[in-house]
């Protein structure tokens, strides 16, 4: 049991007639970062709220840090930290006041709560905020304080629900750095996001959620392989040579995708380096000039669109995000 931090089996949750979770299964190993990726309304937040005991599932067996979230909510609460989508802070109080209050509510004792608050303020670069109420913090500062609050009791499992939504690039980078440093300490992290790049950078394993269930899961590399592996992209100087170049390549012609507007060929390859060298040589021998040649993996964006189909409502949002 110690090796598994989160087990979700057949989780169901309905709001009225709307199914938010529809038989979701997920297992997260201890000490890893699990990304949960999906469009708006896929059920990500519902999942986090159930895992953090804020919401009762209609059905399913859900265990976090070795305890059932419904039957033993208090045991679970002793072992988790939560960073929700909206800042869960007292906005009228200052940063230190917030952390001290939460520390007392974790029953650290007045003195330890104070020491812990100071440690966390220092660690998240919030020492100079003084008495300023949290309501006047910038978005990034508020997120960092929120993250600090969720770490007071040194949780075994940390839930981050869209931790960087609404932050500017700098705020996002700050949160990413903090999360990475946490994982070094052995904390299990479950992170939901709409940003594919975020999952790619932070998560050991990723689950794509759509319609309240997991539609695909694996490491980022495994998921990328779902769309057909690596490709070599070639941009030619002269669009007129696209046809000739395609004919030269050592792959079946219908596997090559051609984008005439951008003067670009995209070629699926199996053996990365050999294939790249082969393409370069073939073009050189034929005297076709290339402006740019690149070997690339498919992006999670492509995997996402591949899995959910182009007509999904979340599609545009995901596109923008990347």
């Amino acid at each position: 049991m110690a090796d598994t931090a989160i087990t979700v089996e057949g989780a169901h949750k309905k709001y009225g007639d709307k199914k938010a979770l529809d038989g979701l299964d997920l297992t997260v190993a201890s000490g890893t970062v699990q990304g949960v990726l999906g469009p708006n309304g896929a059920g990500k937040t519902t999942l986090v709220r159930i895992l953090s005991t804020l919401l009762r599932p209609d059905a399913g067996r859900i265990r976090v840090a070795g305890h059932d979230v419904v039957a033993h909510a208090r045991e679970v609460r002793l072992r988790i930290g939560l960073l929700g989508q909206h800042a869960a802070l007292d906005e009228e109080l200052g940063g230190r006041q917030n952390l001290e209050m939460f520390g007392r509510l974790y029953h650290l004792g007045a003195r330890h709560a104070r020491v812990r608050a100071d440690e966390l303020l220092e660690r998240f670069g919030l020492t100079d905020t003084g008495r300023k109420p949290v309501g006047q913090y910038s978005g990034g500062m508020r997120r960092r304080l929120d993250l600090a609050a969720s770490l007071i009791a040194e949780p075994e499992v940390l839930f981050l629900d869209e931790p960087t939504t609404g932050l500017d690039p700098r705020g996002r980078a700050e949160v990413w750095t903090s999360v990475r440093s946490l994982v070094g300490g052995g904390t299990t992290v479950l992170l939901t996001t709409q940003y594919l790049e975020e999952a790619d950078r932070l998560a050991d394993r990723i689950a794509f959620v759509d319609g309240g269930r997991v539609v695909a899961a694996g490491t980022a590399d495994e998921l990328k392989r779902l769309t057909g592996g690596d490709r070599v992209d070639v941009v030619l100087r002269d669009a007129g040579q696209l046809g000739a170049a395609t004919a030269l390549l050592p792959v079946p012609q219908d596997a090559v995708s051609v984008d005439a507007d951008r003067r670009r060929l995209s070629v699926p390859v199996t053996d990365r380096m050999t294939a790249l060298a082969g393409v370069v040589r073939a073009l050189e021998d034929a005297g076709i000039e290339a402006e740019d040649i690149a070997l690339r993996r498919p992006t999670l964006d492509e995997v996402f669109l591949h899995l959910t189909g182009d007509d999904r409502a979340g599609h545009h949002r995901v596109r923008e995000a990347v």
Binding site: L54, L55, D90, Q97, L105
Partner: protein, 258 residues
């Protein structure tokens, strides 16, 4: 209940007190506003048709009205918390779940006790006296706080139904008529018969009349059952309201996970 119920309740009460320190002006306004009302109504109406002077009649009425209007303060505070998501953090922590409500209750009762102290002082300056002695005065204060206690649970319950702070205004439309359709400002005999009867049975009227009785001033102005048993009603009404709304409020709160 966890073994930490008391400690956590104290932490949550301290949170509310810290809020006071953060907005002293608002706290001051909350203390001064009922005093302003008292002065305003005292001079504006001058108590036509009230024997023995208007101030002894008005002061108990305003005390009861202030307790009743405490409902709004409770509602605003609760909806504000629910709206901000800080409740989510509390609920995801291993704290005693009732502590959030106990903290709210303690702070609101403290605020109301302060309100009472200030208004009694101002009332004294205006010429109101507790003729019934210290025991009766304490009993009167007890009845007023009992009314406030009932309003507290109504407020928490309504706030959780309303959800958003903006919705509180909708509830005010109900609270104000109930507050003013009482004997706080005028005796029921000066009103149309049907209204006077309704006014006598208003819980707020019962408390106001009981406080007048206890301070040895003209209490009941009519011989109706409600007027003659004002002290009994001033105990029964708040207890009945608390018995109804306390479980409702607690149930609503514990069902936030649905």
């Amino acid at each position: 209940m966890t073994p930490y119920a008391l400690v956590d309740s104290w932490t949550m009460t301290r949170r509310e007190l810290a809020h006071w320190a953060r907005r002293p002006v608002q706290v001051l306004v909350a203390l001064v506003f009922p005093v302003m009302m008292l002065l305003m109504f005292g001079h504006l109406f001058g108590g036509r048709g009230v024997e023995g002077g208007y101030i002894p009649y008005l002061v108990p009425g305003m005390l009861a009205l202030t307790m009743a209007f405490g409902l709004e303060g409770t509602m605003i505070a609760v909806t504000r918390d629910l709206d901000k998501g800080v409740i989510d953090r509390f609920r995801s922590m291993p704290m005693a779940s009732g502590a959030v409500l106990v903290g709210r209750a303690t702070a609101d009762m403290l605020q109301s006790a302060l309100n009472l102290a200030v208004m009694l002082g101002v009332g004294y300056a205006l010429g109101w006296r507790a003729h019934g002695g210290a025991g009766a005065l304490l009993a009167a204060v007890g009845l007023l706080l009992l009314l406030r206690f009932a309003m507290l649970w109504i407020g928490i319950h309504l706030a959780m139904i309303a959800g958003k702070p903006e919705m509180v205004q909708a509830v005010q439309i109900l609270v104000w008529p109930v507050g003013f359709l009482s004997n706080a400002f005028a005796t029921p005999e000066t009103m149309p018969g049907w209204l006077g009867a309704a006014v006598e049975w208003n819980p707020l009227s019962a408390t106001a009349t009981a406080v007048r009785d206890l301070s040895g001033d003209q209490g009941a102005t009519s011989a109706s059952w409600a007027a003659e048993h004002a002290v009994l009603l001033a105990v029964a009404w708040p207890l009945a309201l608390t018995a109804a709304f306390f479980p409702l409020a607690v149930r609503r709160f514990s069902r936030l996970d649905r």
